[in-house]
């Protein structure tokens, strides 16, 4: 599903150049649930941003489902993101003046799906995450766990090939974290490829594969016997 070959990325910091990713080789098969681990500064977020086409790579190649991701301009990146990827963020990133349902319909809006269809589909996905009754509520009226579930519904509604989650449980207590992870595991069981960036060991253990980054290179990449979240 994802093929990354000799990926390099550096940031210019004034006259210095900060080499963040120093040759990453990394493949992900369809249906995997991968945890990308590393301490801060290891380059894990940069890797996720490049995978999410929010950032450009300097050197190397990136194929997503057989499509080479290169020569990205903003418009092309936006279309690829919309078509291929679903994002889940640590801080949920819901639009605060839109209801749960409206938030979930947003990716479909940018796909040009008709309003009626958008709402039916979004409601279906909200139901999947158990929040059908909360459809008309604003994010401020939802708990952290509920917000993250809305965000997951939003990430999935456009039927992406890959779900990218950046510390999805970082802002949640351990009980809610488990609930969210259980949801992610269930989505994975239905065949979705998911990448999770985390620094929490017990979250990583709930994934089927753990990739460890240190100083811009992969230091460990092993299969993991997935622990059920709940």
């Amino acid at each position: 599903m994802i093929k990354i070959n000799d990926l390099h990325k550096s940031y210019k910091m004034g006259t210095n150049s900060l080499h963040v990713l120093k040759g990453i080789n990394f493949d992900v098969e369809e249906g995997e649930l991968v945890a990308i681990m590393g301490s801060s500064g290891s380059g894990k977020s940069t890797l996720l941003n490049i995978l999410g086409m929010l950032d450009l790579l300097d050197k190397g190649s990136y194929d997503l489902d057989g499509v080479p991701i290169k020569d990205l301009d903003e418009t092309k990146a936006a279309n690829y993101r919309n078509k291929f990827l679903g994002f889940v963020f640590q801080s949920f990133n819901l639009i605060n003046y839109k209801t749960a349902l409206e938030n979930v319909t947003l990716p479909l809006y940018y796909q040009g799906v008709k309003r009626k269809e958008r709402e039916t589909l979004a409601l279906e996905y909200l139901d999947n995450v158990g929040l059908k009754e909360w459809a008309t509520h604003l994010p401020s009226e939802l708990s952290g766990g509920q917000k993250q579930r809305v965000a997951i519904a939003r990430a999935l509604v456009s039927k992406p090939k890959v779900l990218l989650a950046d510390e999805p449980t970082g802002a949640l207590d351990s009980k809610t974290s488990k609930e969210v992870m259980a949801l992610i595991q269930e989505i994975n069981k239905n065949g979705k490829t998911i990448l999770i960036v985390t620094h929490e060991e017990d979250i990583a253990k709930m994934c089927s594969r753990i990739v460890r980054l240190k100083d811009g290179i992969i230091v460990e990449d092993k299969k993991n016997k997935m622990i059920k979240a709940i």
């Binding site: 929010l54 950032d55 903003e74 936006a78 990133n93 639009i95 003046y97 839109k98 947003l106 309003r115």
Partner: protein, 422 residues
């Protein structure tokens, strides 16, 4: 373009506008105020313009009045302080020697200008004192007084036959006749001489000349009754439409000075009043006012639109994260840009339309309040539709242009930076 007519685009814009009510209202106030000022000001100046025009409509706008006073300089053996009286023969000389005179109406009056007493009018048991004018038919061509239906003004045969006919004023009619009585053909007594009423003139207030009680009789009849010989009180002269009124006035005065042996440099002996000049100055003033209101209005609209741009710029900063989220979810730069610009244009138009409506209401209110005040120069305040549409068009254009700045700012935000911002 397709995006412009897409219902979803507008729902997205309405959503964003509705959910930020205070921002929306504050943004709109600037433009609303601008267009309101523009409409109210230009409407009012048009009203004033119309008002001035109405004030002058009772008299031809290129008319000149000349009269004689006493000399201030000795000349040709005469001492100064000599009283000059204009004569009826002067009219013929003026007509011959001065170019661009269209009509000339010699007039003489009793009862105003501190002259002789007015006429004592008696009709049955009703009496009154009114100013009596000796008139030529030319008068009605210069002063555009209206004569009521069924009546007429003094004509050439009245002059020739020294007929005892008169045209009375609206007030005279009210005071001497019963309400439903037709005065035409009836007789009134002026200084114990019976005159037949041939017409009633409708007095237009604000004209600045005469009174609605004035009685007009033939010039020739006047001079017989009041024993004034060939004396003329003053000349009322209409210059040709496109003649230079100031030059005509100068020529007339020079000719009169020549006739009456007055020093050409004597500024006092012949008095004059150039209505055309006053009219022109007043109209220039009104035009200046219109122009000023246009400039002020457009400047205010401009300030309002810059305000919209400013607030949208701040709101883009405020919405950095939202824009980042939208970008992450697949909004293209073009979609983000067009949303911000459309928000700007939509706010501008909405504010503009409300401003136009409020401005129109205020104009309507002022018009209603001043409707009955005929001496207040304010009539029918309107803003021509092309001006309104022009202002709207200008607003759309400027709203788009000013929207480009925050839109560009929004597009330049990298989704990754926007999402990192906490």
């Amino acid at each position: 373009m397709k995006r412009l007519f897409d219902k979803d685009t507008w729902q997205e814009i309405f959503g964003s506008i509705q959910k930020n009510k205070i921002r929306t209202i504050i943004t709109m106030i600037g433009v609303l105020w601008g267009i309101f000022i523009y409409i109210a000001l230009s409407g009012s100046s048009k009203g004033l313009d119309n008002g001035f025009e109405r004030q002058f409509q009772s008299i031809a706008s290129n008319s000149i009045f000349v009269w004689a006073q006493s000399t201030s300089l000795p000349y040709a053996g005469y001492k100064s302080e000599r009283n000059i009286t204009l004569k009826i023969q002067d009219a013929e000389v003026l007509k011959k020697q001065v170019k661009n005179i269209k009509f000339i109406a010699p007039r003489i009056v009793a009862g105003v200008f501190g002259g002789s007493d007015g006429g004592n009018i008696v009709r049955g048991t009703k009496t009154g004192t009114y100013a009596i004018y000796g008139e030529y038919p030319e008068y009605i061509k210069i002063a555009t007084s209206k004569i009521y239906d069924g009546g007429r003004f003094i004509n050439q045969s009245d002059i020739k036959d020294e007929r005892k006919v008169c045209v009375i004023g609206e007030r005279t009619q009210l005071e001497l006749f019963e309400e439903d009585e037709d005065p035409i053909g009836k007789f009134i007594s002026i200084n114990k001489i019976n005159f037949r009423v041939v017409g009633v003139h409708k007095f237009v207030q604000g004209g600045g000349f005469g009174d609605d009680g004035d009685i007009y009789i033939p010039f020739t009849t006047f001079k017989k009754i009041f024993n004034t010989g060939d004396d003329v009180g003053f000349f009322m002269i209409a210059a040709d439409e496109n003649a230079d009124g100031v030059k005509v006035e100068k020529d007339i005065k020079a000719t009169l000075k020549q006739i009456h042996k007055i020093d050409p440099n004597d500024e006092r002996a012949i008095g004059g009043f150039n209505l055309g000049e006053i009219f022109r100055k007043t109209m220039n003033f009104a035009n200046g006012l219109t122009f000023l209101s246009l400039v002020v209005g457009i400047a205010t609209i401009l300030a309002g639109i810059i305000g919209i741009g400013n607030i949208l710029l701040i709101s883009v900063k405020e919405r950095t994260k939202e824009i980042g989220i939208r970008r992450a979810l697949g909004a293209t730069p073009a979609e983000v840009r067009s949303q911000i610009i459309l928000e700007s244009v939509f706010l501008t138009i909405l504010a503009g339309v409300i401003g136009i409506i409020l401005g129109a209401l205020v104009l309507y209110g002022i018009n209603a309040a001043t409707m009955d005040q005929t001496d207040f120069p304010y009539t029918n305040p309107t803003v021509p539709i092309p001006y309104v549409l022009g202002a709207l068009g200008l607003m759309v254009l400027l709203g788009t242009l000013i929207g480009i700045i925050p839109a560009q700012r929004a597009v330049s935000i990298k989704p990754i930076d926007a999402l990192r911002e906490e």
